[in-house]
């Protein structure tokens, strides 16, 4: 549904504003990487712009720290509608490993409405491109339901190691 709306709202080139709200640079250089010759997103009409006022999409990377929280909100408010926000990486998804420290407010959703999340630490450039293309309805979803994947875990090392499984609640739930 959302993909359909996105296709309607963003029928032409997508201009992307990259907002680092307190990331470690890992996601940021992967975002820059998608511009370079191997990945070259400009062939899809995706272009990185310097100002949120020119942007259709905000790529938010990093946990939102306490001082950047109002700044991210202001950058989001400066974007003209319709607009989308992508959370790139684990930190933007939920705050990452420092989600509750004294200077981190949490994931991107604490500051602005995040429409899509691209997981990874950092996500591969392919994953970022796939995420954006998926949101725009350029490609089909390739994900399988989570429980199917977990049950058919192909590495028998884990099957042998019962102690490891017992420590992981998810396996206990799935096996019963």
């Amino acid at each position: 549904m959302l993909a359909k709306i996105a296709r309607k709202c963003f029928p032409r080139s997508l201009w992307v504003y990259h907002c680092n709200s307190g990331a470690c640079n890992g996601c940021d250089i992967e975002i820059l990487n998608i511009l370079t010759p191997y990945y070259d997103v400009e062939r899809f009409g995706i272009k990185l712009v310097g100002s949120p006022r020119h942007a259709d999409v905000m790529l938010l990377s990093g946990a939102v720290t306490r001082p950047t929280l109002p700044l991210v909100r202001k950058a989001y408010a400066a974007m003209p509608g319709p607009k989308l926000v992508f959370g790139v990486g684990s930190c933007a998804a939920g705050g990452g490993c420092w989600f509750d420290t004294y200077n981190v407010s949490g994931g991107g959703a604490k500051a602005v409405p995040v429409d899509y999340i691209i997981p990874g630490c950092p996500p591969r450039p392919e994953a970022i491109i796939f995420g954006v293309a998926l949101a725009l309805g350029l490609v089909d979803k390739k994900a399988a339901p989570v429980e199917m994947k977990q049950v058919e875990f192909p590495i028998d090392m884990y099957e042998r190691n019962k102690a490891w499984e017992e420590r992981n609640v998810i396996y206990k739930v799935l096996n019963t």
């Binding site: 990331a23 470690c24 890992g26 370079t36 306490r66 001082p67 950047t68 420092w98 004294y102 200077n103």
Partner: protein, 562 residues
């Protein structure tokens, strides 16, 4: 007389009984305990002996003995010695005499502990907030033990950072927090007279994530390296390696030679990708996007190589306390050699294209100049220092991992400008390739991980330095009792280099600001790891470029000439 004895004699003769203890638990490390009042004279004595200031470390010992500790670390690079000056102040009166008037690069360390531990430094020339936001409540010091790691005070309105007094007749141009030339949220206020930069005030630490506090309270020894890798997405394994070495030094662990070789390989692979990344960014900052595209195209091979070795393009997760987690198998070794051969060819072409390009010459030569004397005064490190004629390289000066077995040059330029840093970095790519080849050829057999004892001895101090792509990273660890460090201090190379940027900017053109800042390869996330920031000035200005109107702060200071 060896260096340790010389330093000891000098300190004892200058300070007398104020030197309370002196020990050298690890080779090349000297821990000196001095009285609080003797900290400044002791620091001055070390600087007079030719030491380079590294970093200050503060820690909370109120629960144990009612004091707050403070250490200043110094490096004697030619003598391969690092000295730690330790002092303590009672919690009721946590004040020290500031050493910043003697050593300008100590300014940030002292301001940091003023924010985080509530220490006061008498005589500090600029005792403003550095790490914590301006709306952070007074009296809450996050690094003190009684403050929980997840205490997040509510934001307060109308608390703004007071910029430095602008030189008369200048206009303030705000850059950041979100700006094209900064890929991270930081705020610079640049004072310009027409197009010429006359000064700069910096309010950063917006990516302070409280990592040190988190790791001192929540995770265990061997989880810290993975958090450490996420301090910075570019030089992650430098931090993991440096932390592991500091713990190993403190606990007296000796890791296997093979693990040291594998660490060397990982660090050099990281240097390769980081230098190519910088080259691209530098090209981008001076408007030469072809360099950006080409350098990153070449770099992609290194990323694929890293993925093949470690399973991830970044944040490798290779280095833990006691060794490494994955082996370099013969098949991977052949793969590395292929990549190196291809890379060498391509970087050579890139080098030829850059070295002869007149546009790059004109944009970088004489830009961001800093003399050798100033570089010493500001304790610059890494390629930024080497471009100022200082032959500083931790790999040579304080060998770690397997660098004592490697034969390599330290490229030095004496031009003192952006061009010098560019040349140094390009030449270092070739040295890295050579080190990688030597490491692959000379790698001995052996275990990857050693068995560490069940519990590491508590309250031992360990200091470790690693040459990151940007310069020297310093980690200081005090081992703790609950299977986690009692105190872990990270100092990234951008920390000292950034302090000298206002000096480098002076009298340059405003249009050169991005590349002058870019020459230090700034990595704010490393620098800020523990800290917080300035909502005030940021709230007012989000878009530097689009809101270039003067930031007028009063009729006399805000006169615009442009």
């Amino acid at each position: 007389m060896d260096a340790l004895t010389r330093i000891e004699t000098e300190l004892r003769s200058r300070l007398g009984p104020a030197v309370q203890g002196l020990s050298s638990p690890q080779p090349g490390r000297l821990f000196v305990d001095v009285e609080r009042r003797a900290l400044r004279p002791a620091a001055k004595a070390l600087i007079d002996l030719g030491a380079r200031y590294m970093v200050g470390i503060g820690w909370d010992e109120i629960a144990r003995n009612g004091t707050i500790g403070l250490a200043h670390t110094f490096a004697f690079d030619a003598d391969h010695v690092a000295v730690v000056l330790r002092a303590a102040a009672p919690a009721g009166d946590p004040s020290f005499e500031s050493i910043t008037p003697d050593i300008p690069s100590a300014g940030w360390s002292e301001r940091e502990y003023q924010d985080l531990l509530g220490l006061t430094f008498t005589g500090h020339p600029k005792p403003k907030r550095l790490v914590l936001a301006d709306d952070w409540p007074a009296g809450v010091y996050p690094l003190r033990k009684e403050v929980p790691y997840n205490l997040e005070p509510p934001a307060a309105e109308d608390v703004a950072y007071r910029l430095d007094e602008a030189p008369p007749g200048t206009t303030v141009v705000p850059i950041g927090p979100f700006h094209l030339s900064l890929h991270e949220p930081e705020h610079f206020a640049v004072y310009v007279d027409g197009e010429t930069i006359k000064g700069c005030d910096y309010r950063g630490f917006m990516t302070h994530r409280g990592i040190e506090k988190l790791c001192q309270t929540q995770v265990s020894y061997n989880e810290v390296p993975f958090v450490a890798e996420r301090i910075c997405g570019i030089c992650g394994s430098v931090h993991a390696c440096c932390y592991s070495q500091a713990v190993e030094a403190a606990a007296g662990l000796k890791i296997s030679r093979r693990a040291e070789y594998i660490r060397t390989i990982m660090l050099e692979i990281e240097r390769l990708h980081s230098h190519l990344l910088w080259l691209g960014i530098a090209g981008h900052l001076i408007g030469f996007d072809t360099v950006f595209m080409q350098a990153w195209r070449v770099r992609e091979k290194v990323m694929w190589l890293a993925e093949r070795i470690t399973g991830n393009r970044k944040t490798y997760g290779m280095i833990v306390i006691g060794g490494v987690r994955r082996d370099i198998t013969p098949e991977i070794r052949a793969g590395i050699e292929d990549v190196l051969a291809a890379l060498e060819k391509e970087v050579l072409e890139l080098k030829r294209a850059i070295i002869g390009d007149s546009a790059i010459h004109r944009r970088t030569k004489g830009v961001g100049y800093l003399s050798k004397e100033e570089a010493v005064r500001w304790s610059l490190v890494g390629p930024v220092a080497r471009a100022r004629g200082l032959r500083l390289d931790v790999r040579k000066d304080h060998p770690y991992a397997a660098y004592d077995d490697m034969a390599f040059d330290v490229p030095v330029a004496d031009s003192g400008d952006v061009w010098g840093t560019l040349v140094v970095r390009v030449l270092e790519i070739f040295e890295s390739i050579s080190i990688l080849r030597q490491a692959l050829a000379g790698m001995p057999a052996g275990p990857l991980l050693i068995e560490a004892p069940e519990a590491l001895p508590p309250l031992r101090h360990g200091l470790s330095m690693v040459e990151a792509p940007r310069g020297e990273s310093v980690h200081y660890v005090i081992t703790g009792e609950e299977n986690r460090p009692e105190r872990w201090r990270v100092r990234a190379p951008t920390y000292p280099n950034l302090q000298a940027v206002p000096q480098m900017l002076l009298d340059n053109q405003f249009a050169d600001f991005p590349i002058i800042l870019g020459q230090i390869d700034p990595c704010f996330s490393c620098t800020d790891r523990v800290a917080v920031i300035d909502a005030g000035s940021g709230r007012r200005r989000i878009l530097g470029r689009t809101e270039l109107e003067a930031l007028s702060r009063g009729p006399e200071a805000g006169r615009s000439r442009s």
